[in-house]
């Protein structure tokens, strides 16, 4: 424990570590070092996201159309759930800072209580993020990928999105998933999509009010919708693969890079929240057991507090650059 608690043995000896040039303890200073380096890691991710977005600035997915779901409720609610998650995280930041404040006044019970609320907030946030991931991976309407890796989505003549199931015609076929037990061990394929590309193409031709929406943005920042003739020609000529949901290779919402960055950035952040919850639980038990009561100060709570606020700080930026801008 000597390494985690700087005590006053070395006080007054300039080179013995007792001097505090920045009037912050060793532990807090090291936490700031870590936070700064972690901030640079996150900004590296976000700047790389910006790079890829600028590279495809005229065809990037619109976040409002991607994240539209709220658990247990059907309908189109862009932003609402992410705003809720942001609020939960800010709220848990507040309970954390209240725990730190109670620690300064050596109020043992309130520290434990506020730490407990912080942990609950963190768990709600991680759970929500898991749900976001699941919804994103499962997909919404489905789309068709072209030979060049572009995504074609379907709308009706009023501009409402159409799911593949709305128009695809089921055909009788014998296509089975190729598994590696049926041939050479290194060769297999992903599970087949609900509809094959032939079924989608046949259904599209038979549905007069179906149109194709390509990724290119118009001047108003909306996706371009092709005319019926252009749509038929485009799907027949370039359509190659049915995409449902998103993974690291295919993404029904648009550029695969969007999904890659979504998984990477929110995943890395979610991992931070998860570790934060774990650390908070350890500190919570230390508080309950009276470790800091005996030590005479609650600086440990302050240090994990810094980390927890940092996680909140990062989310503020992820929220802006992934969901708003």
């Amino acid at each position: 424990m000597d390494t985690t608690v700087t005590n006053n043995d070395a006080e007054g000896t300039t080179w013995g570590g007792g001097n505090k040039p920045l009037r912050a303890s060793y532990g807090k200073l090291m936490m700031w070092f870590f936070i700064l380096s972690d901030a640079l890691t996150f900004s590296g991710f976000l700047a790389a996201y910006g790079f890829s977005r600028f590279k495809f600035i005229d065809a990037w997915p619109i976040a409002d159309e991607v994240f539209t779901h709220v658990p247990f409720i059907h309908g189109n609610f862009p932003m609402i759930y992410v705003a809720f998650m942001t609020f939960v995280l800010i709220m848990s930041s507040v309970t954390m800072v209240l725990a730190v404040d109670a620690g300064h006044h050596l109020k043992h019970k309130s520290v434990a209580f506020y730490m407990f609320l912080t942990i609950i907030g963190g768990i709600i946030f991680v759970g929500s993020q898991g749900w976001e991931w699941a919804t994103f991976i499962k997909g919404d309407y489905g789309a068709v990928e072209t030979k060049g890796g572009k995504i074609l989505q379907f709308v009706d003549t009023d501009g409402n999105r159409m799911a593949l199931g709305d128009f695809a015609i089921t055909q009788v076929g014998e296509r089975e998933q190729h598994l590696n037990k049926n041939g050479v061990w290194f060769s297999d394929e992903a599970a087949p999509t609900t509809y094959s590309i032939e079924e989608v193409k046949a259904g599209f031709e038979a549905t007069p009010n179906a149109l194709i929406r390509i990724q290119t943005l118009t001047e108003n920042g909306e996706k371009t919708v092709l005319s019926r003739e252009e749509s038929l020609a485009k799907l027949a000529k370039d359509g190659k693969l049915v995409v449902e949901g998103a993974n690291l290779i295919h993404n029904e919402y648009g550029a695969p890079l969007f999904a890659d960055f979504f998984f990477f950035i929110t995943g890395f952040h979610g991992f931070h929240v998860f570790s934060g919850v774990m650390i908070n639980i350890i500190i919570f038990f230390n508080v309950v057991l009276g470790t800091y009561e005996r030590r005479g100060h609650y600086e440990m709570v302050e240090k994990v507090g810094l980390y927890w606020h940092f996680v909140d700080l990062v989310w503020v930026f992820v929220f802006t650059f992934f969901y708003l801008v």
Binding site: W32, A39, G50, F54, F87, V97, T320
Partner: protein, 127 residues
């Protein structure tokens, strides 16, 4: 361990009686900013989308500035940067601001250049 807290925010125009009140005050302020961001993100006022300033929509400028404001209050009041000495504050904040601005600048410039190459090149990417 009882630290002295600086209890005024907004450059001293809003003073709080104690630290706990300040925490709730900052929470209310941050919640208002988040609400404004979400409402703007949903209605997307046409004026803010049509007007651009240095090649970026006014709306996006607003989002980014509000984000930095939020980051400021989280760092200053929740992470107690307001109560630290100047040396620590500057060492952390300016290092971050300098390196991050530099990184963002070079990566966005490069991304824009690649977009131009794709956009004006002879090769068709849309097939």
């Amino acid at each position: 361990m009882a630290h002295e807290h600086k209890l005024a925010i907004f450059r001293g125009t809003l003073k709080f009686k104690n630290n706990i009140q300040k925490i709730w005050g900052v929470l209310i302020f941050l919640s208002i900013i988040t609400a404004v961001e979400v409402v703007l993100g949903i209605i997307k006022p046409e004026f803010l989308i049509e007007t651009t300033f240095i090649r970026m929509k006014l709306l996006n400028w607003i989002f980014i500035i509000l984000t930095i404001v939020k980051a400021y209050y989280i760092t200053w009041d929740f992470m107690h940067m307001r109560d630290e000495v100047k040396g620590l504050r500057r060492a952390v904040v300016w290092t971050g601001i300098f390196l991050i601005s530099y990184l963002v600048f070079i990566l966005l410039t490069e991304g824009d250049y690649i977009f131009e190459v794709y956009n004006t090149g002879f090769q068709s990417w849309n097939f």
